[in-house]
């Protein structure tokens, strides 16, 4: 496995090549608290290069000081990787599924299908205004564990269904794909439930079936 480093503002991102080859890459996005190398455990077939990204604060990517995480910043991590790799199919687990979904809407011409898989951090936080209690110290980072601020903030970032619907609209309008997003999750937090009902979203499909469809699109 080879690893390259990409710069996203003050963060160095680790991008791991899990499988070589030619053709459109598959980019794997890990769940909350995981890292890119975990994703090599997913059982899938892809006839082309496979890469896995460590999000900010995870794996071999920089752990910043003082938190400030959002899913949108992780979407920008993915966009940095897309500029390096070119158009990709995305497969995201948990938090990575939400980030893959956002990226499909934000960069519809670069994301050739986003496959959403169950995993840690899929749900996120509230879907409306909540009272956020005082919390100023997450405790020290243990060894090579992910940034405690990432675990805290990305487990409760707001994901209103109408926000998600805007992104599925952007993905449909900009990708040229009939179904730019495939939901393989069995867990249905409100944002997943909202997009499941939308045109342009594949449901009742396995991960491999979705990948096979996107490989030919």
């Amino acid at each position: 496995m080879t690893t390259i480093t990409l710069q996203h503002n003050k963060i160095s991102l680790a991008l791991h090549q899990i499988q070589g080859g030619s053709g459109r890459p598959l980019l794997l996005l890990h769940g909350l608290g995981e890292h890119g190398r975990n994703m090599s455990n997913i059982n899938l077939t892809w006839n082309g290069p496979i890469w896995a990204l460590d999000f900010t604060g995870h794996g071999e990517s920089t752990v910043p000081r003082g938190g400030g995480y959002s899913s949108e910043i992780l979407m920008a991590d993915v966009d940095i990787a897309l500029r390096q790799l070119g158009p990709c199919t995305l497969l995201g687990r948990g938090l990575g599924a939400y980030v893959a979904f956002l990226t499909a809407g934000a960069r519809p011409q670069l994301v050739r299908g986003a496959v959403l898989v169950d995993g840690p951090g899929l749900s996120g936080g509230a879907i409306h205004a909540t009272s956020t209690g005082e919390f100023t110290e997450p405790g020290p980072r243990v060894g090579t564990a992910p940034d405690p601020w990432a675990l805290f903030e990305l487990s409760r970032d707001a994901r209103p269904p109408n926000y998600a619907l805007t992104f599925i609209g952007l993905a449909k309008a900009g990708s040229g794909l009939e179904d730019p997003v495939a939901v393989t999750c069995t867990v249905n937090p409100p944002w997943v439930e909202a997009i499941r009902a939308e045109a342009g979203v594949l449901t009742d499909i396995t991960v491999q079936e979705a990948l096979d469809i996107y490989a030919t699109n």
């Binding site: 710069q7 996203h8 503002n9 003050k10 963060i11 900010t56 920089t62 910043p64 000081r65 003082g66 938190g67 400030g68 995480y69 959002s70 949108e72 910043i73 979407m75 920008a76 966009d79 940095i80 500029r83 809407g105 934000a106 960069r107 409306h128 205004a129 009272s131 956020t132 209690g133 005082e134 919390f135 100023t136 110290e137 997450p138 601020w149 903030e153 970032d157 707001a158 994901r159 209103p160 926000y163 805007t166 992104f167 952007l170 309008a173 900009g174």
Partner: protein
Amino acid sequence: MIPETRSFPGARRPDRTRRQDVDGVGIAVYEWGKESDPVVFFVHGGSDFAGTYDVFAPLCADAGWRVVAWDHRGHGDSDHAALYSWDADIRDALSVMSSVTDSPAPVVAHSKGGAFMMQLIDGSPYRVSKMVNIDGMPSKRRMPDVPDHDQSRLLAGEIGSWLDYRHEAHSAERKPGTLEDLARRRGKMNPRLSIEWLEYLVTIGAKQDHDGWRWKLDPSMRFGGFGPWRPEWSALRMASLPIPFLGFIGTVDEPMGWGARERDIRPWLPAGGHLEVLQDIGHFIHIEVPEIVAPKVLDFIS
């Protein structure tokens, strides 16, 4: 190099400065007035810095208050962080406030500072005794001084533009210029404030390098944008504030203003809350007419 300086009538630099470490991010903290006086916290808006209170804070300090303010992360003399968020700003605020007092204290907050302090109070009502919100109340208009992903606009071009900027952020630099250049540039965003005041602000909020002055604001920050946040969330939080509340708005729109109208705000005022609408005044109410605002604020927090 000896930096150029400017003075402004009534402006006074803080009596004390220090740094507060907030989980590795250094926050610059400032105080006006005697340490033995009761505490009031002043919170600046987006793109600003605590020095924008250099006239208003001394008026309150001279009336017997210990005024404590700080530069938000990425602003003024506080550290440039890798990540910015509304929640991180709230945590920084809580860290500074708890370093000064464990007792509830009044807060005076402007613009974005007003909005995020309402969220802080909603979660930590025991920290604040009274709130003065200067044009930081909810509006259906976009909020131009709210960073990046905290906005609700979701145009594809806006998202793409924000992502494009992230690619260049690591090498972004503020454009250098003379002191007068920077004041003129800021004047486009603060058209109602005098050039003398803006030149004074340059000497506080910018630094002088060999090739000219640059604003200290982290160049990787980009205001405007998109995100899941909804204006009505601020409205809900304002309506449920459990403390005495005084709001100020002006009637003149400005580039940095939120465009909130009296009719937008009144339905969401908390119980017993009061709103002052100042005619022919813009977004920077406490800077435009400190002599009008200060007595009202002092009367309210006393």
